[in-house]
Symmetry: C2
DNA sequence: TTTATTTACGAAATCGTTTTCGCATTACTG
DNA sequence: CAGTAATGCGAAAACGATTTCGTAAATAAA
């Protein structure tokens, strides 16, 4: 059995309420009594029961982080930032993975309506095309902050990177390096982040008066083997692109592997550029040109905003989107 | 305000206890009443307050995962496995990162003494040299399962991989490929996992009658720049090794970078082998030979055991260590 | 000295569930 | 038909902390 306040009260011949007040340093309690209580609490190794506190105080000092996956440097780094921000302020972090399933995401958000968490950080799944499940928890008074994979139709704070611009610049870069037939690999048509990148890509093509190839935008799936087949087909087709932009990190591997298998040289035959936070990008064969996202910073900033909101009384999150820029790092795969 | 049982009771002209029993499908309640209650609950979108339940039932359906870091494929994959196991059984996962600090780890475990979590999965920090902080939570009745970075002096369940054997085999592999002057990069002398790998390495050297070089075992730190300097010094010294074993994933980057900078060719000048779960290992320049650990499986197995223990009444965890083997995958960096 | 005010503490309600009793009905048994 | 057993529900006591309110004593103000 754990030590409770009641037990402390007995030991010290004080009332339960006095103990509680003493431990929260209330002005109602004399310095001397506080001393005695604190000492005894340490002596008995008293730890307040968080569930009792949460029940009474209707706040849990816990936030939820909802992510599509974790085996992606971006999300790992983001969690790192989130955990750092949370632990600094004494908050706890619950992790939930949707594995890109909207149904799972929906079920999780439903579960959050019960008050398990004080707030939510979310990066939606690739299948997420609507927002009612998110709006519902917000309506229940639980603040939500988006990061990276945001949804614009929800009026709350969002952290993102300059997807359109980075993609535009990445495309320009490939064009400057001589590509005339680009392909763009995306993972969803529902994600804003994905669409912004597509649009940046397309706008750059347009601005440079490049015709879009048939192969221009490839919709990848959530199935790694399938993606690999598609990419291999793309690279062995007649219209074989001379440049590929992978809009997410996990599409890098199949591209490189397909090139190896097809004996295509990077960058001579195909230039490759990826949105990625892989630490090993400079070590790849050849070193990979990346659009590197501010993963850690986005996670930390999003968490900090959410926590600030939680710590105030009735503060409501702004609905503005904060943009933290990505960096294009040119390496050999596009030279 | 949230919908509570009391509210349901009012709406249906029933007592609070009846509602509760109906919702838990108690035999005391008639089928008809159950139907009414369930229907009303859905209608009002009733969600039981988890903190009230936890307080009453003294279990939280939550486990803690304590890790040194997350920007490491091994731990990302392990979390993946853990989350999968937990969500299957309706458990929630709290994530805590020690950043290799023993003090943080200790503080976290102290915090767990209050009943926030029903059980703990832990991979200890590189600084962790004692176990009293872990033994204390166990003594408080909170089960702990180790994975990967285990401590043998705690009598509880542990999941690990065949570190000694993998390291032994990895070393043999390098010797077979002609190396005569190996170096081994480790991160801690306190971690069993690290020591096992060192011992496997040393035993292989001994079995093959190889003298240990001066440079044999290098203690790396938690500081990336410092490690880089050390590795560079190692590779530019007189006793330059012709083979390097990096005992953790994050030491791969500095080795490759140092080789690049020093214009050393892998594998001709130096062969490189790493304990790593990097998906990009086959894409590196050159492709990296790895000892690949069963990260996902270890995470999932450890979580499943912990959860099974939590779901039984008074079950106590065995103290035996389960070993899930790693795989040596030979690639060009050691050919 | 009397009244007002502070100081220091305790009793009890509360948060929302779960669970143990107890108490009526109704159904069954001998 | 008396007595036992099952059925269906409600009252109330937990779980452990916080908070409001009350009150006695001590101090200050009149």
């Amino acid at each position: 059995m754990s030590i409770t306040i009641k037990r402390l009260a007995q030991e010290l011949n004080l009332s339960v309420s006095t103990i509680s007040k003493a431990l929260t340093d209330s002005h109602e309690i004399s310095a001397e009594t506080k001393q005695r209580v604190i000492q005894k609490a340490q002596e008995l190794n008293y730890k307040p029961n968080p569930y009792a506190s949460s029940l009474r105080g209707r706040k849990s000092k816990t936030i939820a982080v909802v992510l599509p996956e974790i085996a992606d440097s971006f999300f790992s780094l983001a969690i790192n930032g989130i955990e750092e921000a949370a632990s600094e302020k004494g908050y706890h972090v619950l992790i939930y993975l949707t594995h890109e399933s909207f149904l799972k995401e929906e079920a999780m958000l439903k579960d959050f309506q019960n008050g398990r968490v004080d707030g939510i950080l979310i990066s939606v799944s690739r299948e997420t095309a609507g927002s009612t499940h998110i709006q519902e928890v917000i309506d229940r008074g639980i603040p939500v902050v988006f990061f990276d994979r945001i949804r614009e139709d929800v009026s709350t704070a969002k952290f993102t990177t300059n997807d359109y611009e980075s993609s535009y610049n990445a495309t320009l870069h490939l064009l400057e390096k001589g590509c005339r037939n680009l392909s763009f690999l995306c993972i969803s048509r529902d994600l804003l982040i994905s669409n912004s990148r597509i649009q940046g890509y397309q706008q750059a093509l347009k601005d440079k008066n490049m015709p879009e190839a048939e192969t221009a935008v490839i919709n990848c799936t959530n199935n790694a083997e399938e993606n690999y087949r598609m990419i291999k087909a793309l690279l062995s087709g007649k219209q074989r692109p001379d440049g590929i932009i992978a809009s997410v990190e996990k599409l890098t591997n199949p591209v490189y592997l397909a090139c190896q298998e097809l004996q295509l040289r990077i960058p001579q035959d195909v230039k490759v550029l990826s949105f990625s936070n892989l630490e090993t990008a400079p070590l790849l064969n050849p070193a990979l040109t990346t659009v590197t996202q501010p993963a850690f910073d986005m996670g930390k900033a999003a968490a900090n905003l959410l926590l600030k909101c939680l710590q105030k009384k009735h503060s409501i999150l702004g609905k503005d989107t904060q943009v933290i820029p990505s960096t294009l790092i040119v390496r050999q795969s596009t030279v």
